[in-house]
Point group: C2
Chain length 336, copies 2
DNA sequence: TTGCGAAATGACAACGTTGTCATTTCGTTA
DNA sequence: TAACGAAATGACAACGTTGTCATTTCGCAA
């Protein structure tokens, strides 16, 4: 048995084994250049033999920081993966790990509650991913010593926020229709409580009103294809409907299928744009033009904002990550 | 200004403010019943006034544990969301938080490297989510004091593993075809390096061979609809092809579209089964029968396995979470 | 060889908790 | 009122690091 069974190997154990002082072991880890090579080797091999691993708690206690960023997922849905991916990559790059907690199903969590839980954990700063409204959004104050960034399209009075420019994306899509000669644009929304859906609707309205067009009544969907299909059946009967903006690709596909089932062609009779640009994964040769948001970039920005604010937690900024219109062939040009 | 600007409020500060000893403050937090109510109130209001928050590092150092489970994402893809969801919920329920790190794009990470990084972080145990093979899988030995669970379909010599029963799911689907009178089943695979795809293929092979049927050459896909479509075009020309098992729903949809474009009907001419049961989100009135895995359950099991093993890190178990065949109408009954 | 400044190393305290054990206070009974 | 056991509280050490400052060792010039 070469392996010791002492529970935890401390720097002191290593120091004794290597015949040096505790502090020298510490130096080998934190400032190796200040230690003579021969000493360093002794220490390294002692660490090897004993299987030494630095104690996170003791180190953090002394340093007064953890090297971890907290992430609170209020809602964990499909689009969140890329965002987490971005957060995690950026964290790694800057030498941070992530500490994650999640709102449980059914649990009513406020920002204050999330902050309270997080501040008991090893974190130097935190990111809240918020896709729906919470009761205490406006009144919430982040702990003064813990930089807090909220991922949400709403502005917050005291915290930094980061968001996709959902409203801008919707405006862009709408303008694209209008610039292609369409006189009006119908809208199919996502779930009512979703902030994304609300913002996309707001952008759609704004773009139409900017051209003096009265927005028609939006159709209520629930993100899934079936609700898009139902909306499509309704829209097929409206003679003035030449353009449909659906709040996501799945519903856009539902709309397109309904239109076809009603004998209408996309884009010849009706043009359609969706959001998220993910239909191509599921539909071969997909023609759907779509507004794509850079979730990964969003995550990266959020993390960078936290890290940048570690020294000045009370600083406040607002970041918008623009979307991109991925052009395919589901929009007909009505001009000329 | 009611707010103190002393950097960190310690139990000692609270004790002085409340006129009690340090230890009494500690007791108020950890064993409130052992403190007289009047004392408790004094302490509580002192904590309130000073804005006291317990120091995680000091607490962990003393207790010798963190209350955190590490999660390493070797691959962060769509299906991972539900799994993380399950892990996070189960963790929460058992009073643990999650510490997460991710393999970076392009980085070559081994299990040993992941374990080394994790063991520098605040974790009592860890979960590796492994969807592809890594070089040191068979030789890897987990730290003796850190319970390690690997989410992977492969068996590991020393670590506990948890997995969907991908192979069983594929067998189930295949058997379903055969039991409905089909004489053969074609297979469209996902990306070559994916363990899921490999296992699904293995199950398909096994089910056919169990009935003495020689499996036809599998068609290579890449998870996306276009590759399924290409496979469908090939399959449409095979007169003996009455049943197709695609390694995911997107490719299954591609196959179906190709068959229809070739004038074949699903399920009248060809029956199709997919995996993951997610097509209904994108396709209205989807008819695709599909094998669904309970990713959330998988995450819960993985976390529970870690927690159960905290006291005996060297214990080892293997958990398989079965899939479910979600029946729709894409399979024709050829009997009678 | 001696002396010197620089480099390397070490002793000790401190970070903010909790465990151990001693002490004080309380309520009850004789 | 005194005496007692139980309940409440407190003093102090310990967890495993890193920072401060003192001490030792080294290499080199005189």
């Amino acid at each position: 048995m070469a392996t010791m069974d002492k529970k935890n190997v401390s720097m002191n154990d290593v120091a004794i084994a290597a015949g040096v002082s505790l502090k020298t072991v510490s130096r080998v880890i934190n400032e190796p250049d200040s230690v003579r090579e021969s000493t360093r080797d002794k220490v390294h091999s002692a660490m090897e033999v004993l299987g030494f691993r630095a104690n996170f708690a003791a180190r953090s206690l002394k340093l007064g920081r953890y090297g971890c960023i907290g992430v609170v997922m209020f809602h964990l849905s499909g689009g969140a993966v890329d965002m987490i991916d971005g957060i995690a990559d950026a964290a790694e790059e800057r030498g941070f790990a992530l500490t994650m907690i999640k709102k449980r199903a059914g649990e009513k969590m406020t920002l204050a509650e999330a902050a309270r839980r997080m501040s008991q954990l090893p974190v130097d700063g935190m990111i809240f991913n918020l896709r729906q409204m919470v009761d205490d959004f406006d009144t919430f104050e982040a702990p003064k010593d813990l930089k807090t960034v909220i991922i949400t399209p709403m502005e917050h009075p005291t915290c930094s926020t980061v968001s996709d420019d959902q409203e801008g994306g919707a405006r862009m899509a709408c303008k694209y229709f209008l610039d292609h000669g369409h006189k009006n644009v119908y809208f199919v929304s996502g779930k009512k409580e979703s902030l994304s859906s609300q913002c996309r609707m707001k952008g759609w309205r704004a773009a139409l009103e900017a051209r003096g067009i009265e927005p028609p009544e939006p159709l209520q969907g629930d993100w899934n294809a079936d609700s898009g299909y139902a909306a499509g059946l309704v829209l097929a009967d409206k003679p003035d409907c030449t353009a449909v903006l659906a709040a996501n690709d799945c519903m856009a596909n539902g709309v397109m299928m309904a239109l076809r089932d009603k004998g209408l062609s996309v884009p010849d009779d009706v043009s359609v744009i969706g959001f998220d640009d993910e239909l191509y994964k599921t539909i071969p040769n997909s023609i759907l033009t779509s507004v794509k948001f850079r979730h990964r970039e969003l995550g990266i920005r959020a993390l960078n904002e936290v890290v940048a604010g570690l020294e000045a937690p009370s600083s406040r900024s607002r970041t918008l990550v623009s979307g991109v219109l991925v052009e395919r062939s589901s929009v007909k040009d009505l001009r000329a």
